[in-house]
C-alpha cells in the first residue's frame, strides 16, 4: 500500500518506492516486535523453524519464475487467500483453540509454549500441530513474496492459525518477527544499491514505527475474535488486489 501511494500520488520512482516500502515493513515488524517479545507472545522456536522454509523459498523462488507465469501465480494466490479468509471467518467467534495436540515434531523440538492473554486476563498454554504442512506453506509463502513482491504475512498468519492451530495472537506476533528477518535481507540489498532515499524513507519509517508500537500494545488488549475478524478483512482486500493483478482488471 505504501508503494502505490508513493508512486501514484507523489510520483516517486518505483525503485525508491519499493525501498521505502521495505523500510516500512521492517519498521512495522521491529516496532511491534519489541512489544510482542517483552510480553512473551512471540514463539521464537516456531518462528525460526518456519523461517528455514520461508527463506529457502525466497531464495529458490527466482528459479520458479522461469517456470510459471506471473499472472497465473497472482490468481492462484488470490484463490489461496480467499480460502484462508473463509476458513478464518468460520472461526471468527472462537477465542483460543482448544483440544489441540502437539505434532510429534513439536514435542521433539519443544515448540509448545504458553502466553499471557491480556484481554482474557489469563495464561494460556498451547500446543503446536501440523508442522509439515506449515513448513510447505512457508516455503510457498517465501517463493511468492520473493516473486510477487508482497509481504508474506498474509500467508504466514493463516498457516499458523489454521494448520498449526496456534492462538491468533501468537500467530500474529510470530509472523511479525519472521517478516522482519526476511525484509532485513532485501533491505540490505536496496541500501547497498543506494535505492533507499532518505527523504522518502524517513517519514515513512517514523510514522510507521509510532503506529506499530501503539498497534502492538492495542492488539494484546483486544479480544482474539476481533483480531481474527480484522485479519479476514485484510485477507479479502489483498485477495481482490491479487485477482485484479492476475486477471488484469484496471483496479490496481
Amino acid at each position: 500500500m505504501i508503494i502505490p501511494l508513493l508512486t501514484l500520488f507523489l510520483g516517486v520512482d518505483i525503485r525508491h518506492a519499493i525501498g521505502a516500502s521495505i523500510v516500512s515493513v521492517i519498521a512495522t515488524s521491529s516496532g511491534a516486535a519489541s512489544a510482542y517479545f517483552r510480553d512473551g507472545l512471540t514463539n521464537r522456536r516456531v518462528g525460526l523453524l518456519l523461517e528455514t522454509a520461508t527463506t529457502t523459498g525466497a531464495v529458490t523462488g527466482a528459479f520458479v519464475t522461469s517456470l510459471v507465469s506471473g499472472q497465473v501465480l497472482y490468481v492462484i494466490f488470490a484463490g489461496v487467500l480467499s480460502y484462508s479468509a473463509l476458513a478464518m471467518f468460520r472461526k471468527r467467534h472462537s477465542a483460543t483453540p482448544t483440544g489441540v495436540a502437539d505434532h510429534p515434531w513439536s514435542s521433539h523440538l519443544r515448540l509448545a509454549a504458553s502466553y499471557h492473554d491480556f484481554s482474557l486476563q489469563k495464561t494460556i498454554h498451547y500446543n503446536v500441530a501440523g508442522v509439515p504442512p506449515a513448513l510447505a506453506a512457508m516455503y510457498a509463502a517465501g517463493v511468492v513474496s520473493g516473486l510477487l513482491g508482497i509481504g508474506s504475512g498474509v500467508l504466514k498468519v493463516p498457516a499458523m492459525d489454521l494448520l498449526m492451530r496456534l492462538p491468533i495472537k501468537v500467530s500474529s506476533a510470530t509472523s511479525n518477527f519472521m517478516i522482519g528477518v526476511t525484509a532485513a535481507a532485501s533491505a540490505g540489498v536496496y541500501f547497498a544499491r543506494g535505492d533507499i532515499v532518505p527523504l522518502v524513507a524517513a517519514p515513512v519509517a517514523l510514522g510507521i514505527l509510532v503506529g506499530a508500537i501503539l498497534g502492538a500494545r492495542l492488539m494484546q488488549r483486544m479480544g482474539s475474535p476481533a483480531i481474527r475478524r480484522v485479519f479476514v478483512a485484510v485477507l479479502i482486500v489483498v485477495a481482490i488486489q491479487m485477482a485484479a493483478k492476475g486477471l488484469s482488471w484496471p483496479l490496481l
Partner: protein
C-alpha cells in the same frame, strides 16, 4: 488496528463494538505499558534490544529529517519531489554506503538519516543472533542448526543478488 470499529458482522459483536469504543481511551493511555507476560529472560532482552534499536534508529532519522528540512528550507520539499521522480535523485540521497560514511563526517543530514535507516534494517536480525546465543548456551543442537540455517540463507541471498 481498531478491530472494534471495523467489525459489523456477527450477532454477538455489537456489544463488543460498544465496549471497544468505550475503552479506546483507556487503551491508548495504557498502550505503552508492557502486559507482563514474558517469562523468559532472553525474550525480555530481545524486546529491549529491539526497542533500543528502534529508538536509536527513530532518533537519528527524526534528527536527520529535521536537519534536512531546516537547512534546505521547507519550500525545498516541493523542489525535491521533482528530483525524486527521476531515477537518479542526485541531491537527496547518498550513492552508496561509502558515500554515506563520508557524508557522516561532513554532517550531511542525508547521511544521518541513512545511518538511522541502516540501524533500523539491522534491528530485525538482533532477535536471531540473541536466540542463537541462547540456544548455544543451552546446548539446544536442533535449534542452533535451525538458526544457523536461517542466517546462512539470508547471507547467501544477500551475496547472490550482488
Amino acid at each position: 488496528m481498531l478491530g472494534g470499529d471495523k467489525d459489523k458482522r456477527g450477532p454477538g459483536s455489537s456489544s463488543e463494538v460498544r465496549q471497544s469504543g468505550l475503552s479506546m481511551a483507556r487503551l491508548l493511555r495504557s498502550a505503552l505499558a508492557p502486559t507482563g507476560g514474558a517469562d523468559s529472560a532472553v525474550e525480555k532482552n530481545i524486546g529491549h534490544a529491539l526497542l533500543w534499536g528502534v529508538t536509536a534508529a527513530a532518533t537519528l532519522i527524526a534528527v536527520g529529517l529535521a536537519d534536512l528540512l531546516w537547512s534546505s528550507g521547507l519550500g525545498a520539499t516541493t523542489v525535491s519531489m521533482s528530483s525524486l521522480t527521476s531515477s537518479e535523485p542526485a541531491v537527496w540521497t547518498f550513492r552508496s554506503p561509502a558515500g554515506m560514511l563520508s557524508g557522516l563526517g561532513g554532517g550531511d543530514p542525508n547521511a544521518i538519516i541513512g545511518l538511522g535507516l541502516l540501524i533500523l534494517i539491522v534491528t530485525p536480525v538482533l532477535p536471531v543472533f540473541l536466540s542463537l546465543v541462547s540456544f548455544l548456551r543451552r546446548r539446544d543442537l536442533p535449534f542452533v542448526l535451525i538458526t544457523l540455517w536461517v542466517l546462512a540463507v539470508l547471507v547467501a541471498g544477500l551475496l547472490w543478488v550482488r
